[in-house]
């Protein structure tokens, strides 16, 4: 995958002149809140949308002018379900293999192989409608692998999944990279997902990349730990004045320190000296969330968007029968 820049315009700018490149065989994460432009970027890379300006290249092919070549070398797992829920798992996989022109002799073997990878062999002849959300997701991942893509795109691969299934999906992703040397591009708004899985992360907000590096380096860039002080409302201003570089978030005071365990005593002492009433003090080791907070001044609100997204997803997966 080569460097690419693009601006996308559809009344508003969803992706605003971003540039990045992904190395072969790495897991690259696009992290950002919903509406940041993650899915739009994936759609452009997968040739579903045309960029307004700029260039995108996947596997060395132009995503706009060489669509067919790009389509052959990528696998995509979309955010919403794209299986045919009236067909069995195996039929879905078979149709996919046929769409990608895999010869008959290879088809059976590969279908068995991917069913094995995601552990759905025993359910291959069940109608997809009867699958749980986690199973559908696993089947979609399996489907994305049949034609041995060089690059696998995963748009919010664990959205709306329970923690256990999420862990499973993570394991598959790591396995794909390790055993198949696959390049993986995933989007997520889950911090721990990006942290755990990705070799490199691009943090995206309002269609712009605001940071791009390994999770380790991003966290190190914070320069240490965080102390979170929950103080009396009337003392908030005082606290902000007392500690240089302190930030306020959600009525709490956020301090960046080198080693929180060692310095918290001093911090509390200064609070006492200045008559700041501390209700609660917490130590946080750096997490990606703090990186995001530092860069944008706000947190990725997982719960809020999470709920809305889950409702949407449930709607897409349930009902809608014909």
């Amino acid at each position: 995958m080569k460097g690419l820049t693009k601006t996308f315009n559809k009344g508003f700018i969803a992706v605003d002149g971003i540039t990045f490149s992904i190395k072969k065989g790495e897991i690259f994460g696009f992290l950002g809140p919903n509406g940041a432009g993650k899915t739009t970027t994936i759609s452009i890379l997968c040739t579903l949308l045309k960029p307004t300006s700029g260039k995108a290249a996947v596997c060395g092919y132009d995503a706009d002018s060489e669509q067919n070549k790009v389509r052959k070398c990528i696998g995509v797992v979309f955010q919403d379900m794209t299986l045919d829920d009236r067909l069995t798992a195996r039929e879905n996989l078979e149709l996919h293999a046929r769409l990608y022109g895999i010869p008959k002799s290879e088809r059976e073997k590969r279908i068995d192989e991917v069913l094995g990878i995601v552990g759905l062999k025993d359910r291959e002849n069940s109608i997809v409608k009867t699958f749980s959300g986690g199973m559908q997701r696993r089947l979609e991942i399996a489907r994305g692998l049949i034609h041995y893509p060089q690059v696998l795109f995963l748009d919010e691969p664990t959205l709306g999944l329970d923690p256990q299934t999420r862990k499973h999906v993570w394991e598959y992703i790591v396995m794909l990279k390790r055993d198949y040397d696959m390049t993986i591009f995933l989007t997520t708004h889950y911090m721990e997902e990006a942290d755990e899985l990705c070799d490199r992360i691009a943090i995206i907000e309002h269609g712009k990349i605001i940071a791009i590096d390994t999770p380790r380096k991003l966290k190190d860039s914070l320069g240490g730990d965080t102390i979170v002080l929950d103080v009396d409302d009337k003392d908030t201003e005082k606290a902000l004045k007392t500690f240089k570089g302190a930030k306020r978030f959600d009525g709490q005071i956020i301090l960046s320190v080198r080693n929180a365990g060692r310095e918290i005593g001093k911090v509390l002492e200064r609070c006492r000296e200045n008559k700041i009433n501390v209700i609660e003090a917490n130590i946080r080791k750096p997490a990606l969330n703090d990186v995001f907070l530092k860069l944008t001044g706000r947190e990725i609100r997982e719960e809020e968007v999470g709920l809305r997204e889950q409702l949407r997803r449930r709607r897409t997966m349930g009902g809608h029968g014909r």
């Binding site: 997968c46 040739t47 579903l48 067919n68 389509r71 052959k72 990528i74 995509v76 979309f78 919403d80 379900m81 794209t82 299986l83 045919d84 829920d85 009236r86 067909l87 039929e91 149709l95 996919h96 046929r98 769409l99 990608y100 022109g101 489907r143 897409t316 809608h320 014909r322």
Partner: protein
């Protein structure tokens, strides 16, 4: 840019889906049966259509109707494909847009043909007299008619954004097309204005075509009907392919 494999795959999916929904096949057969049994049966004693049994007279019309219902609705089902997501799976695959439309159209036309054959068999059971050669001749004609009608469905489906407009199509396109087609009455006796409208209805020519073959009478010469049906099918195929690809 048509890939045979891609067309076949999309066609295959339509077939699997069709045969999996047995209850739907039965459901779509009830309407034509009602028309033949109740409408045809009740009016045959009081309506004279040039000395021909009324039920036999409307049989080709009812066959055309079931072709239309199946074709248009299945064509419009690309909205469901979009809504349920499977469309995306096809769109990111290396199969061209054109192959997807053609596969979809052929698949739908095939299901529609099967439906038409079943209705014709029911009509035969109810007294329509048809020889084997005639029966076989209607098969390619029904396929041809279906392709044009599927084109209507796919075109509408490409223009519509959600399934809510579905009832609208039913009320403002499908039903008027059926009632104005001369499926239930001879168009030669109509008042001039109404006659003109029936001539503008493409289904009229489909009904005339089938009626000519099945019971040997028609108000429009066979050659003209055939010409219009072929022209319409080609036109609708091109239009639907264009509308679908444009949307991407």
């Amino acid at each position: 840019m048509i890939e045979i494999g891609g067309v076949y795959t999309v066609w295959l999916r339509e077939m699997i889906r069709y045969f999996r929904q047995k209850e739907r096949i039965v459901a779509t057969l009830t309407m034509p049966v009602f028309w033949l049994l109740i409408f045809g049966g009740s009016l045959r004693a009081s309506v004279d259509v040039g000395g021909i049994d009324y039920r036999s007279f409307i049989s080709p019309g009812v066959v055309a109707m079931s072709l239309m219902f199946t074709s248009v609705f299945s064509g419009v089902s690309i909205i469901w494909d979009r809504e349920l997501g499977f469309m995306k799976e096809m769109l990111v695959s290396p199969v061209s847009r054109l192959s997807i439309v053609v596969g979809k159209a052929l698949g739908t036309a095939t299901t529609s043909l099967i439906q038409g054959i079943m209705v014709m068999l029911i009509a035969i059971l109810l007294g329509l007299k048809v020889g084997l050669a005639t029966f076989l001749l209607t098969v390619p004609l029904m396929l041809l008619i279906s392709i044009g009608l599927v084109g209507i469905g796919i075109s509408i489906g490409s223009l519509m954004n959600n399934v809510e407009g579905f009832q609208l199509i039913m009320n403002f396109i499908v039903m008027p097309m059926f009632f104005l087609s001369g499926a239930l009455f001879p168009i030669s006796n109509l008042p001039p204005t109404l006659k003109l409208i029936t001539y503008l209805d493409p289904l009229t020519y489909a009904v005339e075509l089938l009626r000519h073959v099945l019971i040997g009478i028609s108000s429009i010469p066979f050659a003209i009907s055939l010409f219009v049906v072929i022209g319409f099918s080609v036109l609708m195929m091109v239009l639907s392919a264009w509308l679908f690809s444009r949307r991407g």
